[in-house]
């Protein structure tokens, strides 16, 4: 009785979830595979001719390979920001967790502020301009690092709390200095939380739209999100290419999700519960 009821409930849920959550993605895929005229009708239907590969090529080669350049920019931005974030925030989290001092209160407050307070936009542009970093990729990398630190520190701190201090003591007795102790002994033990931080932050930074819009305007070093946003106005009559673009920028997070599903959910809930 009970099991039959739950089977029906499950089937109903599958159908509803399919309509609500999968139809929009199917729409992206179908439209991206249609010819220009057919896509313009905005119908939810299978394409009569699958021209997906052709559309991908057209989207990538449009405007002198702008999307390809944008992909390279986005990947450089993501890899550099995440690498810096991992090293710097694990260092902070380590000292914050291990050393009790009168600074802890202040540091914790700053970490919390970094999570809650919305960044001041124009003054940040001004700082970047004074440092000659406005409209440069390195400037945007530093911005992403500054805005991402808080979240990463919380994740690392929670994990480091579970590493026994006996390990530190043993290494100190063996004559390891602070840097050696951290980078040789502790850092390698953080591998699983590093994977979580890398995955969660890469998705966030790759998908970031607001910060590139403010701090990296201009076509020559646009990121993918910005490029797709700009295509929206140019391709208002070429929905197939617009949705081919959307499909292309959806693939990297989809791949990450397929392989690292557990880690992502873990990281987001762990970070969230602490925040």
């Amino acid at each position: 009785m009970r099991t039959r009821k739950s089977v029906w409930l499950g089937l109903l849920a599958v159908v509803l979830f399919g309509i609500v959550f999968l139809v929009p993605f199917a729409f992206i895929l179908f439209t991206a595979a249609k010819t220009r005229g057919e896509a313009g009708e905005l119908q939810f239907s299978l394409p009569t001719n699958w021209t997906l590969v052709q559309n991908f090529q057209d989207a990538l080669t449009a405007r002198d390979y702008l999307l390809v350049i944008a992909f390279i920019n986005s990947i450089v931005l993501t890899v550099a920001s995440v690498a810096i974030l991992v090293v710097l925030s694990s260092m902070v989290a380590y000292v914050l967790q291990r050393r009790q001092s009168r600074w802890n209160g202040l540091v914790n407050f700053l970490v919390l502020s970094g999570l809650i307070i919305p960044p001041a936009v124009v003054p940040t542009v001004w700082v970047l301009q004074e440092l000659k970093l406005f409209k440069t990729l390195s400037g945007l990398i530093l911005i992403e690092v500054a805005f991402g630190l808080s979240f990463c520190i919380l994740l690392f701190r929670a994990f480091i709390a579970a590493i026994p201090r006996d390990l530190d003591q043993a290494a100190i007795i063996d004559g390891a200095g602070p840097a050696r102790l951290f980078f040789r002994i502790i850092f390698p033990l953080l591998r699983s939380v590093i994977v979580t931080v890398v995955v969660v932050q890469s998705v966030a930074i790759f998908n970031d739209f607001t910060n590139p819009l403010y701090f990296l305007p201009g076509d020559e070093n646009a990121t993918v999100q910005l490029t797709v946003f700009n295509f929206q106005s140019q391709y208002s009559t070429q929905y197939n290419l617009l949705f081919a673009d959307i499909l292309l920028i959806t693939i990297p997070p989809l791949l990450m999700y397929m392989f690292l599903n557990k880690r992502i959910v873990e990281g987001m809930t762990a970070g969230a519960v602490k925040g």
């Binding site: 739950s6 089977v7 409930l9 499950g10 089937l11 849920a13 599958v14 979830f17 959550f21 999968l22 929009p24 729409f27 439209t31 009708e41 905005l42 119908q43 710097l88 260092m91 902070v92 000292v95 600074w103 970094g114 809650i116 307070i117 919305p118 960044p119 001041a120 936009v121 124009v122 003054p123 001004w126 700082v127 301009q129 440092l131 530093l142 690092v145 500054a146 100190i172 200095g177 602070p178 840097a179 050696r180 998705v203 998908n207 739209f209 607001t210 999100q225 797709v228 929206q232 929905y239 959307i246 920028i249 959806t250 990450m256 999700y257 599903n261 987001m268 969230a272 519960v273 925040g275």
Partner: protein, 307 residues
């Protein structure tokens, strides 16, 4: 990195020994804070503090002129800007409320014994990871008043759908609904984590006592997943009050100014070259977030200690 480390190690005794000969050197040195602190101060703390000053000026980035509270006066006298303030509160409240309610319902459903549970969890969570711009453009097409899939489907069952994004009364709400669609998966997994951590004894005891599913939800799940509820409320308020991406991708504040929020007002003023006014908007948003989120966060953490 390694050269820096070596330099530190060799330089260290010479610097610290004379200054503090008696104090034992900590194996957890403060200079570990330094690189992160420099970036955080230069690119976050400094702009935040200077925004208070620059909001009182007429500002070109290179030159400024002190004009007192004129920017704030202008801000609160311009109806188009005040709408942004009102819409921000509506948007944050609607998205936060819907994410809590729907997320909780989905979490209860997805922790019960139903078929394809893992698949359903994955499906509900995936939109969290997708590009907001991609989602925004897709739903702009799906919500097209005549040709969009949503209104065509509604027409099939005889319902005339609203004009969604081009209807002034529905525009903000439409964007909020898409935001909920994209973000409810995160709320759901947080609630699932909360529900899973409730000890099984409570459920066993309740089934021995013959409690109905509703009573089980009301008297066990809801009170015992309070920390998760607090987290979702805080997170979605922080996100909702400063939200920009989706609104910009779908309506750019339109039609007119009917779906403008603080973040889009700030961006529009920045684009128009009113840097002082834009920064004043930033300060208003800062105050709004601080006044709402910090006390709420304090309230929730205090209650947690009480439990």
């Amino acid at each position: 990195m390694s050269t820096e480390v070596k330099a530190r190690q060799t330089a260290r005794p010479a610097v610290t020994t004379p200054a503090a000969p008696r104090r034992k050197k900590s194996p957890y040195p403060y200079w570990f804070y330094l690189p992160a602190a420099v970036i955080f101060f230069v690119f976050f703390v400094l702009p935040t503090f200077s925004s208070f000053f620059f909001s009182l000026t007429r500002w070109t980035l290179f030159d400024y002129e002190f004009i007192g509270l004129d920017n704030y006066v202008a801000f609160f006298q311009e109806p188009a800007l005040v709408i942004g303030l009102k819409n921000t509160l509506i948007y944050a409240a609607v998205t936060c409320g819907l994410k809590v309610v729907l997320g909780l319902l989905l979490a209860v459903l997805l922790t019960s014994q139903i078929v394809a549970r893992g698949f359903l969890r994955s499906v509900a969570f995936f939109p969290v990871l997708v590009s907001t711009i991609g989602v925004g453009i897709t739903f702009t097409v799906l919500m097209h008043p005549d040709d969009g899939l949503i209104n065509r489907s509604l027409a099939l069952v005889g319902v005339e759908g609203p004009a969604w994004l081009v209807d002034p009364t529905f525009a903000l709400l439409s964007v909020a609904l898409v935001d909920v669609w994209k973000g409810v998966g995160l709320a759901t997994v947080i609630f699932i984590a909360g529900i899973v951590s409730i000890p099984r004894e409570y459920f066993e005891a309740s089934s021995v006592d013959g409690a109905s599913a509703f009573r089980r939800f009301w008297h066990i799940i809801l009170p015992l997943s309070r920390p998760a509820v607090a987290t979702v409320i805080i997170l979605s308020l922080i996100g909702g009050l400063r939200y920009f991406d989706l609104i910009w991708a779908m309506t750019r504040g339109g039609p007119g100014f009917t779906s403008d929020v603080m973040a889009s007002v700030i961006f529009k003023q920045y684009q128009a070259g009113f840097y002082g006014l834009s920064t004043a908007g930033n300060v208003v948003l800062f105050v709004l977030v601080t006044v709402i989120v910090f006390p709420l966060n304090w309230y929730f953490t205090r209650r947690e200690v009480d439990l």
